[in-house]
């Protein structure tokens, strides 16, 4: 909805330039909190971005953690791929920005 609107109005702001001041961490910053949730290390899993379709390891995502949760963004289009919020009772994992997650497994 916002993308459509943005395209229509042409007001997409320039983003921080790659290689500029880094206010994000790499996707390995997801490892600890995802280890609470998954039985396998999913930072080596491959995710596909729902916004631009590019695939890559979760470890390659850009994680913004100075926020009320962890926000993992696509390194190609900077849109949100994953959001993680740890409340006292629950772990919220919002994956609407991720169309597929391929997790390496031991041979079945």
């Amino acid at each position: 909805m916002h993308d459509t609107d943005r395209a229509a109005t042409g007001t997409a702001p320039p983003q921080d330039a790659p290689g500029g001041a880094t206010d994000f961490l790499d996707g390995n910053a997801l490892a600890g909190v995802l280890a609470e949730l998954f039985a396998v290390d999913v930072t080596t899993a491959t995710s596909r971005c729902a916004h631009c379709g590019s695939s890559g390891h979760l470890a390659a995502l850009r994680v913004y953690g100075r926020a009320p949760g962890l926000v993992a963004r696509c390194p190609h289009c900077s849109e949100v791929v994953l959001r993680l919020v740890r409340t006292p009772q629950d772990m919220w994992l919002d994956m609407r920005g991720c169309t597929a997650l391929a997790v390496p497994m031991a041979p079945a």
Binding site: H2, T9, T11, P13, P14, Q15, D16, D23, F24, Y64, R66, A67, P68, G69, V71, R73, S78, E79, V80, R83, L84, V85, T87, P88, Q89, D90, W92, D94
Partner: protein, 199 residues
């Protein structure tokens, strides 16, 4: 003079120096961000209010500057538990911006340059409790704090005060925003410690 919203009377005998439950005071101004800082030129900046019928009200930067400006001094309460007392802002009241907007909507979904969204009842944008802020501490609002302009709605947790505000959509049904759809409280009253869904 401190701007104190009505709901605080009786709960804050010493305005500006009482912490909501679970908060601690900080003297600096932490920068929280869920993504890259958008850089929005004022000559391309626009703020819109879109009603439930699709009627669109738009203000350019000069339009905003031409409106009466207020200077609220308010306390900020971030859901990550810091609070900052006595911050001084300059901005245009939402009462001014909503004055000519005809709507039956009960809810607002605020959206920002960069894609952030947050929801709140429309009533919380009225009554001298919300501003489109363009200055902080007497200077232009810096990009890391939401400049050129941000929503300031200090009676709710600070995630509701959307940085880099671009528009407000008025809705007949509540629609959760960026954090509200990922476990955070739909309303976010710091005095009732409404941090997460179910609080």
């Amino acid at each position: 003079m401190a701007v104190i919203s009505r709901g605080f009377h009786g709960r804050r005998p010493e305005p500006g120096r009482t912490l909501p439950p679970g908060q601690y005071e900080t003297r600096d101004f932490p920068v929280l961000s869920a993504g890259p800082t958008p850089r929005v030129d004022r000559d391309r900046w626009q703020f819109t209010i879109t009603t439930e019928t699709g009627a669109r009200h738009a203000w350019s930067w000069p339009d905003l500057m031409a409106l009466p400006s207020e200077s609220p001094t308010v306390d900020l309460h971030c859901v990550t538990k810091w609070s900052k007392f006595g911050t001084t802002w300059g901005g245009v009241s939402l009462d001014t911006l909503l004055a000519d907007v005809e709507t039956e909507a009960g809810y607002a979904l605020v959206d920002s340059y960069g894609g952030y969204t947050t929801n709140l009842p429309l009533a919380d944008l009225r009554g001298g409790r919300a501003w489109i802020a363009h200055t902080y501490d007497g200077a232009d609002l810096a990009p890391e704090h939401g400049g050129p302009a941000r929503l300031l709605v200090p009676h709710l947790y600070l995630w509701k005060s959307a940085k880099w505000v671009r528009g407000i959509r008025l809705l007949t049904r509540d629609e959760p925003g960026f954090w509200e759809s990922a476990g955070y409280h739909s309303y976010g009253d710091p005095w009732r410690e409404q941090r997460y869904q179910g609080d």
